[in-house]
Symmetry: none
Subunit: 224 residues, 4 copies
């Protein structure tokens, strides 16, 4: 039944066009400022058509956010999380996230912004699926750190702590740079961030006393 299949393919293509348009508009304007009409115009469809594919503005938003986050995660798996060397993996993650933020100016907004009708928590408005992807993403990052600690590449710190720190640091820099135009090219900023972060947590082969503090007072050990 080729005709049927063509129809299905066409329908799917339209769905993707609408979703892509929604992404662009939400990223441009944020949830509240975006209008269904603008999304429709961006997608070159009539408003009514959007409702044939999605259940409404909120559903469209959820689908768009899921899409973006899904892409990021997929990229991360492909380019970073899959690497065997933890140090390289962390470096690739930083690289990827900075590039992503650079490419999708305003992408942050989608992750940080208050979602519709959200209560108390910035992330609450995210669709469950997106939330799950984010959690999975974080788990994978934690796993990278865990492996790094296990292999003696990183200091014996809590992998979860490390993952959260990485997340926070990268976001802080992205936010800062999105406000104050950075004076260095992306590659340089990226390199610096990688070196410094990794430099902080790499196990120092400081002679024989390769102390085992999972964390803290590492200085004390050196004294002895």
């Amino acid at each position: 039944m080729p005709s049927q299949t063509r129809k299905q393919r066409e329908r799917e293509a339209h769905r993707r066009e609408i979703l892509a348009a929604a992404e662009r508009v939400f990223v441009r304007k944020g949830y509240y400022a975006a209008t269904v009409e603008e999304i429709a115009a961006e997608a070159e469809f009539a408003v009514g058509t959007l409702y044939n594919f999605f259940d409404g503005k909120k559903a469209l938003y959820h689908a768009a956010v899921s899409e973006i986050i899904g892409q990021l995660y997929a990229d991360a798996r492909r380019r970073a999380l899959g690497l065997d060397d933890p140090e390289q993996a962390v470096g690739a993650l930083i690289e990827l996230e900075l590039e992503y933020a650079e490419r999708h100016r305003g992408f942050l907004r989608v992750t940080l912004e208050m979602a519709p009708g959200g209560e108390l928590d910035p992330a609450e408005g995210l669709p469950d699926e997106a939330q799950r992807v984010i959690d999975q993403y974080r788990q994978d990052v934690i796993e990278v750190f865990r492996r790094g600690v296990e292999r003696g590449v990183f200091d014996a710190l809590d992998p979860f702590y490390l993952a959260l720190c990485l997340e926070g640091i990268v976001k802080a820099f992205i936010t800062y740079w999105s406000r104050h135009e950075p004076d260095e090219p992306l590659a340089v900023r990226c390199e610096k961030l990688k070196q410094t972060f990794i430099g902080r947590i790499k196990l120092r082969q400081t002679g024989p006393a390769a102390e085992a503090e999972p964390r803290v007072d590492r200085g004390q050990g050196g004294q002895s």
Copy 2:
């Protein structure tokens, strides 16, 4: 004359009540989802009364945000930034911010959320005054780190970098804990965060070879 003063005091009290109500509602709902009517109800005043004190919803929002941030900064100066010992100062900052986040559940939302009309940048919509306070706050934190590096308490890292990292890390943890109920009491979490962060950046008195790389690959030397 006392009568005059009483009226003024009452007016000021009403202003504060309204502002407090606005804070609560904005924190609960976010800027867009909050309605002036709800704020008025929360404040137990008529809508019109709000407009006798503030110029509109946006002004109310700005005043509320400025209020919160102003309080935080004032507290920070009193309890942390003024301390002479950089290590103690950083510890006090972490403590203060965590406490603050604990007290104002959802406070983050106000800082992170897209402000009215904001494009692309979460902080763009903040009132100028609040933005100035935030910038000043960050400057003060940078100064603390600068002093720490100068005095040989911290590793020779860029103070600005350190300030931004601290900011990001604290926010990441706050965000995480605001979503996943933490299993440890605040004091413990606070202590851990302080120790680990500070531990990462404290200058290690590693015997004579206390090399001064401002950052990175401190391990390399040992490898060769």
Copy 3:
């Protein structure tokens, strides 16, 4: 394709219905006292629909005023201004304006009333287009008088002065009659006004034959 055309025609028809309703309401209530809701009800559309056709209350007002004035001017050109004989042209103008005022009871209100935001000048709030039409109308009237003076039909008075006098006189009578129910039929009032005004400005053939004053016994004075 007829379907496309039908939709367009329907849309245009709806636009006209809304405009007509707005005319009626504005004429009835004046700009400030009219409400968008009332106009919508008069047009038998929902409020929102009005905003699909016009940019707001002011735009609706402007469109309505322009419509009325445009019609008047178009009629004037067709029935009066085009006439070659200045005397006939002036007569036709008077006739037309009186008829117009009779048909659009309250039309004057639209021309005289303070327009939105107007300061100090009744005409200031008129939309530019309407103002241009009014100015053009006046210019055309001036031209009629100029021709009349040139041809020796009218006394050698300033055409601009004559045009303004005509305007004022007609308005004064319309206003008066709109308040005090006139006791004569329109045609009679019209005829009187024409005769008297034209009689005042017609060149007197100063010869002995103390000419056919279109009206009244001016002879009496001479008799005494």
Copy 4:
């Protein structure tokens, strides 16, 4: 009882101050755009105080309009209507009205503007008292013309017609000049208007002395 009297005098003084402030504001802004608060500020009283003297905004408006019209009428009686010579009286009226319009820029607004809630007629919203004064004023003007015709100073035209024409012409010129800055000083405009209007209606002493037509080259007749 001097104290009582002082109180009364003070109260009356306050009333007049408020009224004067209302006049200024209504003239400046028109009825709808004026706010009670602005009037109160202009009068240097609290809003509440205004309500001790007047029943509300509409009452204030009515009182203010009545006041203005009353002044105009009083002035007219003193300076124009009382003159025995009809020609001088008409001249003085024109002079007075032009001066009045010049002094109270925006005065016209008060006479022409739609009154609050008025229906169909610009003048309907005027308070009865003001309407009565206007009617009386017009009657007095009619009487001047009647006398002029009776005495053979003016052509034998309907005095009512003449009064209405005068009214309309003066208003038309005032309106025009309020929009297009006049290029002649008030005195000149005033003189021209007087000469032309009166010249149009003065009885011509049809004898040989075809004298001093106030203006323009009617002299043509002399050519013959």
